[in-house]
């Protein structure tokens, strides 16, 4: 035999919980007996009413818990994971690479094969060094 469940002293006796459970079960059986055996036309009347049908469908859809959890948890999570599917932090590094390519394009304008540009470049360099020497 199983030992009796010991409850904390603050709670009512176990027998009260047991009777609530028994009463609920009996009420269920009673309701079924009344609706389907004694007064079957009641159900037919209920089926005419829109509000009650909505309640019935709501119960049949499992209180719509699936949709609720889908909205609350699944959809936001999938959304978040889809945003950075290709890893947003990758943008930092591809950005650095892109910046250097831009710099390359920008600076390679000066490498155009015309000697004037090169001579001018050398002259600017010489001027810079001489200025530094004079100002020192």
């Amino acid at each position: 035999m199983l030992p009796a469940t010991v409850l904390k002293p603050a709670h009512p006796e176990e027998i009260i919980f047991q009777s609530i459970a028994i009463l609920t079960t009996l009420t269920g059986i009673m309701t079924g007996y009344m609706l389907y055996y004694l007064y079957p036309h009641t159900i037919r009347e209920w089926k005419q009413s829109e509000g009650l049908m909505a309640v019935r469908n709501f119960f049949f859809a499992g209180w719509r818990f699936d949709q609720l959890y889908d909205m609350l948890f699944v959809k936001p999570f999938v959304y978040i994971t889809q945003i950075s599917r290709n890893d947003v932090t990758d943008k930092i590094y591809s950005g650095i690479a892109e910046m250097h390519l831009q710099l390359n394009r920008f600076l390679s304008v000066s490498q155009n094969g015309s000697l004037r540009w090169y001579v001018a470049g050398v002259l600017i360099g010489i001027l810079f060094i001489i200025t530094l020497q004079i100002l020192r």
């Binding site: 599917r85 890893d87 932090t89 930092i92």
Partner: protein
């Protein structure tokens, strides 16, 4: 001496593979298998030595000969329990790596096994080197053959992946080299003895500011390897484009060298500085765990998926290391081993699937259970059960003890 022999055996075996591979790929395969197996046997012999050693917590092999005496560089190798388990893992995964590329590699097999064995030599060198110059040398020996493995035998986007891997890891190595040199000169000025020896350098005293900068160099190199976000970007690309054995070595061993480096070098050399950044390291660890998991969830490429779970798992390692508690540290070692085995196995399975299906896209892989039952079952277990069994213990060990200091 035996530790140096292990590395020399791998290096020489690699050269032999290259030479014999010109005659026939089969020679190269068998040479590679024999070489790694020899090292495995040697490492197993070391287990007995370890058990006979009276004090199980210290260095049971410590060997030093001069290499470049004028610079204070020596071939100093030493082994304790931590190095021992990692060495065993290295050779075990090494044998697997040789075996799983047995039929996969048909082109230039000799050179392939040369690279594979040299990577292994570098990794085992990293785990035993107690001279920072030797450590750095082995660190590079492990990276460059790995780069060649990816760029020569990789998948369709192999050039991109290999360059990315190389740039990331080389940037980290450069910072580490600067730190090593700074350490060398500071110690030399303090004691008048210029040396790269780990045990000597441990006695250096720093001003807190200097310590912080030197530590940052080491930390960045190791966290790139670990990888910690936001330095993890090389990992999914390199893992997914590398040949199967390459992914196996990357996931199973190269990531462990980062964690090993933090435990072996960063914490003992800079105890105060690492305590100062512990909070940030833990924050990045946790971010990595979550970010890696979220990204793994949204991947459709099977190898990228496994790669992102690695980011997530190595976040646990970082978190555990910087919680500074003994049990968390044991959890870290366990996590390193279990992650090496389970992720390595997953990469082997992914490689087998890719070889058979010629795709890495999970959405095209339906119905494996009926078409390849022998394959699907281990995959299923590995994907869900093994990481759960093995990593759960270690992760919970980590997270339990990490939550301690935060409360």
């Amino acid at each position: 001496m035996i530790l140096l022999w292990m590395i020399v055996v791998l290096l020489a075996g690699g050269l032999l593979c290259w030479l014999s591979g010109r005659q026939s790929p089969a020679y190269a395969r068998w040479t590679a298998l024999l070489t790694v197996s020899t090292d495995m046997v040697l490492a197993c012999c070391l287990c007995w030595l370890y058990h006979e050693f009276p004090d199980k917590s210290s260095w049971f092999i410590n060997y030093q000969i001069n290499w470049i005496p004028s610079m204070g560089v020596s071939l100093h190798v030493a082994l304790d329990g931590f190095g021992m388990v990692l060495l065993l893992l290295t050779f075990f995964l090494g044998i697997l790596a040789v075996l799983c590329s047995w039929n996969e590699i048909q082109e230039r097999a000799g050179f392939y096994y040369f690279n594979l064995l040299w990577t292994l030599a570098g990794i085992s060198g990293v785990f035993v080197a107690m001279d920072l110059f030797l450590f750095y040398f082995c660190w590079e020996v492990m990276l460059i053959p790995m780069y060649l493995l990816i760029i020569l035998w990789g998948d369709s986007r192999r050039r991109y992946a290999a360059y990315k891997f190389f740039l990331f890891t080389q940037a980290g190595s450069l910072l580490m080299l600067l730190s090593i040199l700074a350490l060398y000169f500071i110690h030399g000025q303090q004691s008048g003895q210029y040396t790269f020896d780990y045990f000597e350098l441990l006695r250096t005293t720093f001003q807190s500011n200097t310590a912080w900068w030197i530590m940052a160099g080491f930390m960045i190199a190791f966290t790139i390897k670990l990888p910690m976000i936001p330095f993890h970007n090389w990992l999914p690309d390199a893992h997914s484009e590398a040949p199967t054995a390459g992914s196996l070595l990357l996931a199973g061993l190269l990531l462990k060298t980062g964690a090993y480096g933090i435990v072996r070098f960063v914490l003992p050399l800079f105890p105060e500085a690492s305590a100062a950044i512990a909070w940030w390291a833990m924050l990045f660890g946790v971010t990595g765990i979550i970010y890696g998991a979220v990204l793994a969830f949204s991947q459709t490429d099977i190898k990228r998926l496994i790669a992102y779970t690695s980011v997530s798992h190595m976040g646990f390692v970082l978190l555990g290391i910087f919680s500074f508690s003994e049990i968390a540290m044991q959890g870290v070692v366990m996590q390193m081993l279990t992650h090496g085995l389970s992720t390595g196995a997953l990469f082997v399975m992914a490689g087998m699937l890719k070889e058979r299906l010629h795709t890495r896209d999970i959405t095209k892989m339906g119905g494996l259970w009926t078409s390849m039952p022998a394959m699907a079952e281990p995959l299923f277990y590995l994907q869900w059960h093994l990481p759960v069994y093995l990593c759960w213990v270690t992760s919970s060990q980590n997270s339990l003890y990490c939550s301690g200091p935060l409360q």
